[in-house]
Symmetry: C2
Subunit: 569 residues, 2 copies
């Protein structure tokens, strides 16, 4: 494996050997290490000293189910802190087969310009190709053109107009296994960082590549089989396959924690029309392109993704996920999956984070810029973002800036990043994660909704969140999807076995949490150097003041618990 | 003296005795003490836990020249840190004669509404009078109506539409001695805090009041005379009287430090048309209302204020000050005093900080929203603020938010607050002040331009800035104007003498700096508790990277100096 280091100022590529301290890390953990080693924490996120880093997880490259994710990171223009955002699709797999341990994109062009960066394994080269013709183009059309030009074997990471406009809600999309750019490293504004480097797209051409070497192929196969079986036999896997992530809607509602009308209620009276069952029925009914079960990565046994088609059978968007339905549905008082799906497509096409934009629209409703439930107005507001109007830019900068500029205190965000679709006053463990994660509010940093605890009892949330945060930072470091836990957690020996088979490393039973611990420690240290303190590990004040229906609870996990959660790392 | 504590939620007043630890403080120092004692540093600035505090300086109440200033403070919605903003006019004098050591405005109304708070000494009462009819009204008309209603003997602090819109660039205006609301506690968004308390105006009715008691009247008179003589005989006093603060324009230009076109150059080719001489000539030439020398407070011997009239002899604005001319003139490439004066009136009437708005307009030019030099477009943009459009709200939130939303890195601000009209790359001592002051960028927190040092030499700036910061925090605590130093610094025994005569306190020769030291220590402690770190004591990165013409220097005072400046407090 090598480090590919790209300088966008003089348009050069250096291939370097992997430093010893980076060898045993991948994905999120490696990003944190590189950030500590190379990126000044006080740097301007969109300036020359920030870096944009791609790193596949440690187990990526072998089509282990749900374990080929790509981590993308840098300093976040949204939070001002360290950022790792990961995605499915084929980018991770391609990088691994190209022998790229990590891709580090440095510096800044002297002049404005837009480029496609073409990385070729066969030529060991990086070429900059003028992309002026792609300027302002949505990701769907852009991806199509790029696949036409570079062939359908490549992986592509690309940005939409939102990234080009340097909006803090802009992410980086990745082709899925079907060449659709639907796999977005959404959170934290990394699309704007990519734009600041002058890049519209990165082509990963793995021609001549091969699977990364495996030290003990037989042992690997055995462990893989054990894992896949466990995953396939877990009841949760069937739920995700049949209903997708939207199965969470009814679960959140049952807990009184489904964000509704800008987080003013935990129950949505139209939940049945946006539930997993409703989605599945609609999809099966409509046929055509529609499909309730779809894999984003080759070899995934879960297939939580879906294709949502209209009455004419043609695809509206793929996938339709719970967090989008929560933030752009119940959070906006919108109960129609068709409306949500169209909003979702529009946000995707602009290369934006549906969670951040959904939350910003909720804030806009609170400010009177839009009425709750008015899908048409929501679509107009998304058009304003595309048109780069002042209002569009406000929303495109995310929920926190929208709240500041529009004069709204009730903004559901921590460290400047919007909460995903889980109400921290009803599901308090995820509130602890939102408050304390170095990444800002993000359910994938430590989901507690399935923990067997009383979600309203403030005293038991610290432990639940810590455990979830460590696991997730571990999964993010090996390249595993949040849902892979249904397999990995069932047979806890599998990850150490896979690592041993793949690399020959002897790792302890606590390996996954050890990785998570090391990763979070590094991330917190980086944030500390950037100026973060305990005061940033808080939910917004109004959530500690305003009771949330139906339980009429506030967020009351003690500040002591928030301050001490990582004490023993 | 008493503490008047007002609760805007249940509309009550409590008169309390002054706690012992508050007794020997006033103005800025007392604000810092109260903030530490009573305001949770992590609170939401526009929420119920923030407080809005008025406190006259320790020597206020006796018409000592330039020493009747009112300090207003709270948690800043602009910086998120502690905020003290002081102003001339008559508010300080009235409060002192009412025996009010400080006015603390607490809590938040349950329902939206707009009120005039009428404080009466004779009735020892606070009355809330419905001010719905004043909603959205500019400060000039509002003040006129209030004076008609409450008589011309009262002092008034009030906000304009900018405050009502809760813009972070909104200040609090105060009547000057001629009943014009031209004395604005401009910086840090305190107008928005006042609006969050539901208040459009506060009437200070000192009917029945008297000068605060003086322990040794004879000694006071003697010291006062000594001070006034020193002030009158200082050459700088004549310069301020004849040319106003705009005398600084040519001085800054000479140092290559006059902010020009969004801080991209330190020299402005049209400086002669916006200089002190140009202003004086124009004023004398026009006659009518125009007046080159005008006092904002009764008894001021300097009279740096002025009245700027048009060709028809009618007042356009009063006063026209250097920082406005710098930020809305050279910084916008505008070389016409008439245009600047009209922009100034508009900003004042909305109750906004001309520095913050001028800087935001500079950022807007950089973003292409306006062309440098286009005064008509600038006026349109100010109209957008008044109309509460999205673009108007962006600008009204100040330079930092404008830069974020409009995608501009070159924002001249620290701790979220715009720099006043001194280029830190050419006058590096004030750069140290901008970087390290707990208040954010503010020339009145530590002006170094008159220090006898090489302003380009990075090694000597820490000392110059520290001395200036301590002096200013001291002056702000006794209620003295920045220009009073021409008297006080000439006869350093005067302040201890005045304090001894007024209160009977024996204070050391180092009293002024001691006060400053105590004040800054408290402010830094409060900010620390709010989450500020050394990383906040920095100029923006681009100023350390982009050389400034004509000297082609960057800001290169070492981070070590910035980190250690307050080590010995």
């Amino acid at each position: 494996m090598q480090v590919w280091r790209v300088n966008v100022n003089n348009q050069t590529l250096k291939q370097e050997s992997v430093p010893e301290t980076w060898e045993k890390l991948g994905g999120r953990g490696l990003l944190a290490r590189i950030m500590l080693d190379e990126v000044e924490p006080t740097c301007e996120p969109l300036g020359p000293r920030n870096k944009l880093i791609f790193s596949p997880g440690l187990l990526v490259g072998h089509m282990l189910s749900s374990t080929d994710r790509i981590s993308i990171g840098g300093k976040s223009p949204l939070t001002g802190g360290i950022k790792e955002s990961n995605a499915g699709g084929r980018t991770g797999l391609h990088m691994a087969s190209m022998g790229i341990k990590c891709l580090i994109i440095e510096n800044m062009p002297d002049k404005p310009g837009l480029w496609v960066l073409h990385l070729s394994l066969a030529n060991e080269s990086a070429k900059w190709e003028n992309a002026t013709d792609l300027a302002g183009m949505g990701v769907y059309e852009t991806a199509k053109k790029l696949v036409e030009k570079y062939g359908d074997k490549v992986a592509i990471a690309l940005i939409g107009p939102g990234g080009e406009m340097k909006l803090a809600a802009a992410g980086i999309q990745n082709l899925d296994k079907d060449k659709i750019p639907s796999r977005i490293a959404a959170r934290g504004g990394l699309g704007a960082v990519m734009a600041s480097k002058g890049l519209k797209a990165i082509i990963f051409d793995n021609n001549g590549g091969q699977r990364p070497p495996i030290t003990d192929p037989e042992a690997f196969k055995l462990a893989q089989k054990e894992y896949t079986n466990a995953l396939m036999n877990h009841p949760q896997t069937a739920v995700y396959r049949d209903f997708g992530t939207i199965a969470m809607a009814q679960m959140c509602q049952a807990f009184g924690g489904l964000p509704t009308r800008n987080f003013s209620s935990g129950v949505f009276e139209q939940v049945e029309s946006i539930s997993g069952e409703a989605l599945r029925d609609l999809i099966l009914d409509r046929g055509g392109d529609s499909n309730p079960s779809h894999a984003c990565m080759a070899g995934c046994a879960i297939r939580c993704s879906n294709i949502f088609g209209g009455e004419d059978g043609k695809m509206i968007v793929s996938p339709l996920e719970f967090e989008t339905v929560g933030l752009m549905g119940s959070n906006l008082g919108i109960g129609s999956l068709d409306v949500i799906a169209r909003l979702n497509w529009e946000v995707n096409d602009q290369g934006l984070d549906a969670i951040e934009i959904g939350a910003a629209l909720g804030v806009a409703c609170e400010a009177g810029v839009m009425q709750f439930g008015d899908g048409e107005r929501a679509m107009q507001l998304l058009a304003e973002i595309r048109q780069n109007t002042p209002l569009g830019r406000i929303l495109g900068m995310g929920a926190t800036i929208s709240g500041k500029v529009l004069g709204v205190e009730r903004v559901p965000a921590t460290k400047g990043q919007a909460m995903s679709a889980y109400e921290p006053r009803a599901i308090k463990g995820i509130g602890v994660t939102f408050a304390t994660s170095p990444q800002g509010a993000d359910h994938t940093c430590g989901q507690t909704i399935r923990a067997k605890i009383n979600h309203l009892d403030p005293s038991v949330q610290k432990t639940a969140s810590l455990s979830a945060q460590l696991n997730m930072a571990g999964y993010d470091t090996i390249g595993a999807c949040i849902f892979s836990g249904s397999g990995y957690a069932t047979v806890p020996t599998v990850i150490p076995d896979l690592i041993h088979a793949r690399y020959g490393w002897d790792v302890p039973a606590s390996y996954l949490q050890d990785l998570g611990r090391e990763t979070i420690k590094m991330e917190r240290e980086w944030n500390r150097r950037a100026g973060f303190t305990k005061k940033d590990d808080r939910l917004p004040e109004w959530m500690t003041r305003e009771p949330l229906p139906p339980h009429n609870t506030i967020f009351d996990v003690s500040e002591e618990d928030l301050d001490n959660i990582f004490n023993d790392l």
